[in-house]
Symmetry: C3
Amino acid sequence: MESLGWLVLHGIGTCAYAASGAFVALQAKYRMIGVFILGLTTSFGGGVIRNTVIGVPVTKLWDRETLLLVVGTLAILYILSTKWIHHWKKWGLFFDSIGLASFSLQGALYARQFGDNLGMTVMAALFTGIGGGVIRDLLAGRKPIALREEIHAILAVLVGVAVAIGGRGFLEPIPLLSTISIVVAVRMFAVRYKDKVWDKLMLRR
Amino acid sequence: MESLGWLVLHGIGTCAYAASGAFVALQAKYRMIGVFILGLTTSFGGGVIRNTVIGVPVTKLWDRETLLLVVGTLAILYILSTKWIHHWKKWGLFFDSIGLASFSLQGALYARQFGDNLGMTVMAALFTGIGGGVIRDLLAGRKPIALREEIHAILAVLVGVAVAIGGRGFLEPIPLLSTISIVVAVRMFAVRYKDKVWDKLMLRR
Amino acid sequence: MESLGWLVLHGIGTCAYAASGAFVALQAKYRMIGVFILGLTTSFGGGVIRNTVIGVPVTKLWDRETLLLVVGTLAILYILSTKWIHHWKKWGLFFDSIGLASFSLQGALYARQFGDNLGMTVMAALFTGIGGGVIRDLLAGRKPIALREEIHAILAVLVGVAVAIGGRGFLEPIPLLSTISIVVAVRMFAVRYKDKVWDKLMLRR
């Protein structure tokens, strides 16, 4: 799985979860240390869950490049944060959506290697997709977003279904980037319209 | 450890924790997605802790049968849930007790293989027994039941002591099912009488 | 890494985290079971995170000596607890500082073996140092101390930097004990003066 597509997914997902942790920390009025701690634990914590679910040793996470990427992302965000004050919530959501898309893609692609078992692929997408957000929200003392917002888990499941049907083709640049874009667009749209559409689709009681 | 008794314990424990997650989600007024997410994370999260404690690779959890069992249990519960509205708390407790009993039995039996070290057997029973409930309660934003309710941890410890004395005999159908029944009965009784008896036994300050 | 220094660090760190869990439980007015559960989960939970981060199998934690040490520490603390009632917070902080120092030293020393990569050593110190406290605070329903108190994470990072420069010399008795003493002293001092000095140093907004 050491293809270019995999490395790109890993890089995008890790950076996006780091940024989403930083935005949650800024929203909660934490300062520099809080931004770094929550950013680092979200991105590496999400990676620990992903590696545990798909059976890759956790120590594979600790390479110099990933570390520089995460610390660099957090430093840039912290320096820029004073100018973005009014957009924290929106940006947090944006990066959380990218993290969700890329980690669920990775989980699904990994599970897909062992044959086309729909259930396994969907579960791997679900658990690797929501893991980083769950760690971040527990550390920040909030209920995990996967339980508060239904579209979050639904998108991870849909990515799993898509990969179960489409297979390794998703590692090519175009399907990979379009999947991430679609997930982010649907998520931002759904949250903006306050789940109204989804309420009807899910026949909520 | 791939005996029939082990598989039965694994199946019963996983289903019971899935159901207890679903009942907590229903109590918290979550809808379909919440029921599935909390049910899946409780049963597989408990399995991850159990496998980590006893040193079995986490990827062993991801077999097709367990997945079908958990998803089937959750689907049936969700469909039936509207009719059981007034019993969520009691049913949640019932399934949590079954999960506690079967996971602590598994932890203790596994540790027992490596010789009759009482301390290790009891610790393995304790940590595998309470793991699923801890994951569920953290995700639902509640204090873990193992800290709120003393009988919970005491029963896991007693299962450990029983296995340390009785050994592999607990994998036979009759001792296995009677242990689970006794744990469930004692737990339901203790919670009903609001820990009054236990308060005296523990000489609470 | 099975040197004497390593074993001493493991023993001190595990006992200190057990004690800090027990003090948090006493502060929260939990009784005997609560003290044991929170003490055991803090010390072994911290060990699970440390072993996961540095790639040592989690099952290595379950040896008879560590278990006796932890259970003995908790029993002594529980028996003495009625006489210390007014010092729980201070003692909790004291033991948390020892746990922080010894676990971050272990993480850093382990990472240092693979070459002098400053970033990796610092990250290993940070994550192994704060892990036990994070587990304890999540279980007790509090925000993790690493996010509430900046000096906590800063000290773990500084231990990482010191080990990256000083190397394996830190396994000798004198540097080992002086590092732990310095960390504990700085932490207690910083908390006492309510972060005033640090506020200025960090140029808090």
